[in-house]
Symmetry: C2
Subunit: 138 residues, 2 copies
DNA sequence: GCCCTATTGGTAATAATTCCTATTACTGAT
DNA sequence: ATCAGTAATAGGAATTATTACCAATAGGGC
């Protein structure tokens, strides 16, 4: 949690019990929890926490780079897995899955510089069949 | 418009004046209009059209592949530019811009097959500085 | 033109996210 | 340790994009 308390202080934020527990709970989740799901999990430990605090906390954690926000579909999801990975959205069952593998050929971000874009990071979303649905089709 | 009328019929949809004009107006827009902006533009030509019809029309057009839906930020945006291109979200001014260039090295989608994923298409979102903001920084 | 059914318009409902305000709790300095 | 100043919180209400609903209308195959 040192990265949290120091990260917060560096940006002028405060290290609060709520934010610590929000981060802990996001890290416990396996599958891209929504703000509401995180709220429910945190609420067990902090029964008085409000949904607004969770939203604000998630925003701060995202800003600090301690979690990732995945915007897809009707609500945002959060992800504490910071290793390079991409997301597959199954066009059959509509699930969001991790593809835990870096690209075999990393994307050359320099190529966009010629057009004036300075790329800092990128996100790849793959659409197709997840392993389960792909098997069922064959 | 033949691709629209035939595409619609193929899927059991009907070719209506509303859908035709929605497509025409999306094609007129340069910068990823929102559903509301399309609604406003269509409303000039069809003053009685309802927002729900525009949403439904955009959904059908997206399903037929005649337009693309770009989900980012607080609302969805639509794009009639079907040429391969990617999107840059400027981390400074928060604008969504087209990067009208295919990748110098196309993404190898076969690499995911080994993990059981059958990739049909993919979307790359670049985050960084747009030409305007990049210039202002230097 | 007739009939069947998808579509429309208008409105109400839904749901994610943000906003507002009084209260509480850190923080840094004394 | 106490105090003052400031930022964060809880709780609820407000906002807003998107969907759902339903009676009336209009494609389009015959």
């Amino acid at each position: 949690m040192k990265e949290l308390s120091e990260g917060l202080r560096q940006e002028g934020y405060r290290f609060t019990r709520q934010r610590r527990i929000i981060l802990e709970e996001v890290r416990k989740q396996q599958y891209h929890p929504s703000a509401k799901e995180i709220y429910d999990a945190v609420k067990i430990r902090l029964p008085n926490i409000s949904l607004g605090t969770v939203y604000r906390g998630l925003g701060v954690l995202t800003e600090l780079g301690l979690i990732r926000k995945v915007e897809h579909g009707e609500y945002a999801r959060f992800d504490a897995n910071l290793a390079e990975h991409h997301h597959l959205i199954c066009t059959d069952c509509d699930q969001l899955l991790d593809v835990d593998a870096p690209l075999s050929e990393p994307l050359n971000t320099q190529q966009f510089k010629a057009r004036g874009f300075e790329v800092q990071r990128y996100k790849i979303e793959l659409y197709g069949l997840c392993p389960t649905c792909a098997t069922e089709r064959s």
